[in-house]
């Protein structure tokens, strides 16, 4: 290729990329850097001009009760949602990966929560959990139990949200497992059956190991979701009662738009960014290994 042709291709490629690059810089790259810088400045309602404070924001964040609570809640939220929704996804996939009457309808029922917006799901469950009129309480009353204020009680608020998120997410992982189950070579299971392996043995020794990449992949998606979705908190609890259901992203939202503490909002954003990069790194190394093994 001639030199002028190389320049021409280069120029054209960059023109093709330019629109994407502009938006990428404006709404992903620049914000990441500007947040990092803002996290070193004190900037709230009491400071007129942002004031450079070094690591002060990070230190005061560590001492902030609400931040610690949101952080620990987020860990519990991840522990509560990730393994549960992935395992239930696997269970559902096994259940609907057979021929039986009502197979496609069952699949639709398990998958539809994935399609509906989180906000709509939140209103549905808000109605479910409501003390006086709520469906769950109506059922409980039917069996002679007392009334429970699921979202208004700090012991049950986070758990109630975890249950709802598992309901919404499990169908998503079900389809990954369904695809993986259908990819398992039939002759492998056939051979195991001829050798006299029980169903459970087949599952434990053949199916489950072959599903490992899917499990890992689903777990990573579920973990990312646990740190990036807060629509349900805005609708259902506003992080309450007494911060019992506050999560990191909701805490960022509150500090930005309610308390106008921009230094703190930036600092917590940096923490969540670090968590995101860590999850991506785990994914990168884990999938790298998978390629070697398969």
């Amino acid at each position: 290729m001639g030199r002028s042709k190389v320049i021409k291709v280069n120029l054209m490629a960059w023109i093709f990329l330019l629109p994407s690059l502009i938006f990428l810089i404006m709404f992903t790259l620049y914000p990441v850097i500007s947040t990092l810088i803002s996290s070193f400045y004190k900037s709230d309602l009491s400071t007129i001009e942002p004031l450079f404070v070094g690591f002060d924001n990070y230190q005061s964040m560590m001492e902030d009760e609400v931040f610690r609570k949101a952080f620990i809640n987020n860990i519990w939220f991840a522990i509560g949602t990730v393994p549960t929704s992935v395992l239930i996804g696997l269970l559902l996939a096994i259940l609907v990966n057979r021929t039986f009457i009502g197979k496609s309808l069952s699949r639709v029922f398990f998958f539809y929560p994935v399609v509906i917006p989180m906000v709509a799901a939140s209103f549905i469950w808000l109605f479910f959990y409501t003390p006086d009129y709520g469906m769950v309480n109506s059922i409980l009353k039917l069996f002679g139990f007392g009334e429970l204020n699921f979202l208004g009680n700090s012991d049950t608020a986070l758990l109630s949200i975890i249950i709802m998120v598992v309901w919404k997410e499990a169908g998503f992982f079900m389809i990954f497992y369904l695809a993986a189950l259908q990819n398992i070579p039939k002759d492998l299971l056939e051979a195991a059956r001829i050798d006299g392996a029980s169903k459970w043995r087949q599952f434990r020794s053949i199916v489950f190991p072959l599903l490992m990449p899917t499990t890992l992949f689903s777990a990573i998606i579920a973990t990312t979701n646990a740190f990036k979705t807060v629509d349900q908190l805005v609708v259902m609890t506003q992080g309450g009662p007494n911060n019992a259901s506050n999560l990191l992203l909701y805490y960022i939202y509150e500090n930005t738009f309610r308390f106008m503490d921009y230094g703190k909002a930036a600092t917590v954003t940096v923490i969540v960014l670090i968590i995101m990069v860590l999850i991506a790194a785990i994914q990168f190394f884990a999938t790298d290994k998978k390629i070697h093994y398969s």
Partner: protein, 261 residues
């Protein structure tokens, strides 16, 4: 044994469906009547109590303008990554990876600052602009473009086609299934988007359905109003559910592809 498994599947499926049936039941229930009597009153009340027509229009504009711009930007970028050798290609590719790693909801704080600086707060443009590119879409399409036989491009070149003509006449038609998959993901994601439009809008003129519903529900925050809120919730869900039932196969396969997002 098989029977037992089927029965437990039915029970679980019903359990999963219960929330949906619950709100449908509530939406059609006449709150003023004794027992259960069917009524459309809740839907009419909800529709009249908030500008849902405007919200629908806003959501449709937002969803389809984003999709249109995305299709343009991802096609050009995907072609450059798939079929052109250019300076710093690997590095630029890595920069795009950052967008996949970091979900935009995490960046609400800095991005709302950018919107304020641009002076476009409370506009539809502010809701749409962060989503004008999709690194996920670029990577998905790049993969498809790479699978197109290079001979086709050569032949088109011989015919005297320009690069843009080649993209339009060779690559785009062959990548149709990928475009459909991406389109379904983009539309359903943006239809459901809530946090960002909530932050960046302040008037009914620009609010999408999701934010409109939450405002409306907050305003009618009393137990007796549940039927109306359930009806409003159905306004958001029904178009998506309908699309899902119509394009079930494509939906499921595109959601699977979105897993790598």
């Amino acid at each position: 044994m098989n029977r037992l498994i089927s029965i437990s599947t039915y029970i679980l499926a019903l359990l999963w469906a219960l929330p949906f049936f619950g709100i449908v039941f509530m939406a059609f229930k006449d709150a003023s009547a004794q027992g259960y009597s069917l009524t459309f009153k809740n839907f009419i009340d909800a529709w009249n109590a908030a500008p849902f027509g405007q919200y629908y229009l806003n959501t449709l504009i937002i969803v389809f303008v984003i999709l249109g711009v995305q299709l343009l930007t991802i096609t050009l970028a995907a072609y450059a990554f798939a079929r052109m050798n250019f300076f710093a290609q690997g590095f630029i590719f890595m920069l795009f990876l950052v967008q996949i790693m970091i979900p935009s909801d995490v960046l609400i704080f800095p991005n709302s600052n950018t919107i304020a600086q641009l002076g476009i707060y409370d506009t539809k443009l502010a809701i749409m602009i962060p989503y004008f590119i999709s690194a996920f879409g670029i990577f998905l399409l790049r993969q498809t473009f790479k699978g197109v036989p290079y001979e086709l491009e050569e032949a088109a070149k011989m015919e005297g086609c320009s690069r843009l003509q080649i993209i339009r006449n060779v690559y785009v038609p062959l990548a149709k299934p990928t475009y459909v998959a991406f389109g379904l993901i983009s539309v359903s994601t943006q239809w459901s988007n809530f946090l960002w439009p909530l932050i960046i809008t302040d008037s009914d003129e620009n609010r999408p359905l999701t934010v409109g519903l939450s405002m409306f529900a907050k305003a009618s925050d009393s137990g007796a109003q549940w039927g109306v809120v359930c009806a409003g919730t159905l306004f958001i869900i029904l178009p998506l559910l309908l699309a899902f039932l119509l394009f079930q196969k494509q939906f499921v396969s595109s959601f699977m592809q979105s897993g790598i997002k």
